[in-house]
C-alpha cells in the first residue's frame, strides 16, 4: 500500500484539511483518504494515509470530474506530508487490527 506514514497529530491535521476543503465549498465531506493505525511491522504505532496514484486520481465530482490533486489545498497538505516523494510502501497486513478478526 502506497502512502504516507505519519504521527497521529499530523494525520489528524491532514484529515481535517481534506474535510475543510469540502466544507469550505459548501459541500458535505464525501471523500477522504482516511488515516489508518499501523498495527504491526516496522512502523507499528504510527498512522498510514493511503495516497497511491490511483487514490489521488479518485474522480470526486463534476464532469469531467475533479480529482484530489486538482484542488488548491492539495499542494499544502502534500507538503505537510513531505511531498509525494515521501510516500512509502506499507504492507497491507500491517494495517490489520488483531482485535478485530473473525474467530
Amino acid at each position: 500500500m502506497i502512502g504516507f506514514v505519519v504521527s497521529q497529530s499530523t494525520a489528524d491535521q491532514v484529515i481535517a484539511g481534506i474535510a475543510a476543503a469540502q466544507i469550505g465549498r459548501g459541500l458535505p465531506v464525501y471523500w477522504t483518504t482516511g488515516a489508518y493505525p499501523i498495527h504491526s511491522g516496522p512502523r507499528m504505532g504510527q498512522m498510514f494515509i493511503p495516497a497511491s496514484d490511483e487514490i489521488l486520481a479518485t474522480p470526486l465530482r463534476g464532469f469531467p470530474p475533479d480529482t484530489p490533486l486538482e484542488f488548491p489545498e492539495a499542494a499544502g497538505l502534500i507538503a505537510l506530508l513531505g511531498g509525494l516523494e515521501a510516500r512509502v510502501d506499507v504492507d497491507a497486513s500491517d494495517l490489520i487490527d488483531p482485535n478485530q478478526t473473525l474467530s
Partner: protein, 269 residues
C-alpha cells in the same frame, strides 16, 4: 372565436426521485431518461407497497464519481468514502485494505434496533464477497453482518451468541433482517431468491452505536470506531432500514434488482 391550445404535460417525477436527481445534478451527474424513469418507478413502487418509510438509507453508487455515489436516495444527505475505492460504471469497489464507505449514521441513528432491522448489499460480480456492512459489539457476539469468504454469516442479530454459517453468496443481492422474531439472510440471483439463514434465536443487547459501513466491517460498538475488515467486491447498491417481512424482502430485492439493472445496463449474477 378564440382558439384554445391544450398543453399536454407528462407525469411529474416523484418528489423524492426529483430531489435525488437534483442532488446528482448538483455534483455534475445527469441521469439519462431511462435512469430517471427507473429511479422514479422504484421509489413510487416502494411507496405504493408501503415499504419506503422503512428504507432509511439507500445508496446507488453507480455514477462513477465519489460525490454522486455518496448521496443517499432517501435523505439526500451524504455518506463518506475513505481510502482506496474505485468508482466504476455501475458499482464501487474497495481495494480490500483501506477502502470503505461510511453511512455517517449508526443503526441507532436510523431507528434500527435489536428486533427490527434490514440490510441489503448488491454485488455486481461473483466475487464471493458480501461486501457489506457490519455493526458489532465486543467479542463478536452482537454482529449482524454479511461478510466475505464465500459465506453469509449471521450471529444472532443485534445480540446473543449463536452463530450460523450460511452458503456462498456468489454475488447478487444479499439481504439480512431482524423482523417478527426471526433473523434471516436471503440471497437473490437472477435465477431466483433463496433463504440462507432463518432462525428464531432471541435477540438481546442494546442497539449498536457504531457507524454503518459498506465495503468493510468492524467489531467495535463505539460511536468513534473505524472498520477493520475490508472487501474488494463490486457493490452496486447498499441499503439499511427497518425490518421487513419475508414477502416484503422478496418484493424489495426484486425491485432493487430491476432498478440497478435498468440504470447500469448490467445483469445481476
Amino acid at each position: 372565436m378564440l382558439a384554445r391550445r391544450v398543453i399536454l404535460a407528462g407525469p411529474s417525477l416523484d418528489p423524492d426521485a426529483r430531489a435525488y436527481l437534483a442532488a446528482l445534478s448538483g455534483v455534475g451527474i445527469s441521469a439519462s431518461v431511462s435512469q430517471k424513469r427507473a429511479i422514479d418507478a422504484f421509489i413510487r413502487g416502494e411507496k405504493r407497497e408501503g415499504r419506503w418509510t422503512s428504507v432509511k438509507r439507500f445508496y446507488l453508487p453507480i455514477w462513477g464519481v465519489a460525490a454522486a455515489n455518496a448521496v443517499d436516495v432517501v435523505t439526500r444527505a451524504s455518506g463518506t468514502f475513505s481510502g482506496g475505492v474505485t468508482h466504476g460504471a455501475g458499482y464501487i469497489q474497495g481495494d480490500g485494505s483501506t477502502g470503505y464507505f461510511s453511512f455517517a449514521a449508526s443503526p441507532s441513528d436510523i431507528g434500527m434496533g435489536p428486533a427490527n432491522g434490514h440490510y441489503l448489499s448488491l454485488q455486481a460480480a461473483t466475487t464471493n464477497q458480501a461486501g457489506f456492512v457490519a455493526h458489532c459489539g465486543s467479542g463478536n457476539t452482537n454482529r449482524f453482518s454479511l461478510y466475505r469468504g464465500g459465506q453469509a454469516d449471521l450471529y444472532t442479530a443485534f445480540g446473543g451468541t449463536t452463530g450460523h454459517n450460511g452458503s456462498t453468496t456468489d454475488g447478487g443481492i444479499a439481504s439480512g433482517q431482524r423482523f417478527g422474531g426471526h433473523t434471516r439472510i436471503h440471497k437473490r440471483l437472477t435465477a431466483g431468491r433463496s433463504t440462507v439463514v432463518d432462525t428464531t434465536v432471541a435477540d438481546a443487547g442494546a442497539t449498536v452505536t457504531a457507524p454503518i459501513y459498506g465495503l468493510a466491517w468492524n467489531f467495535r460498538d463505539t460511536a468513534g470506531s473505524s472498520p477493520a475488515n475490508y472487501f474488494n467486491g463490486q457493490i452496486g447498491v447498499l441499503s439499511a432500514g427497518l425490518g421487513m417481512s419475508d414477502a416484503d424482502d422478496t418484493a424489495y430485492t426484486l425491485a432493487v434488482k430491476a432498478l440497478w439493472e435498468t440504470c447500469t445496463g448490467l445483469t445481476l449474477p
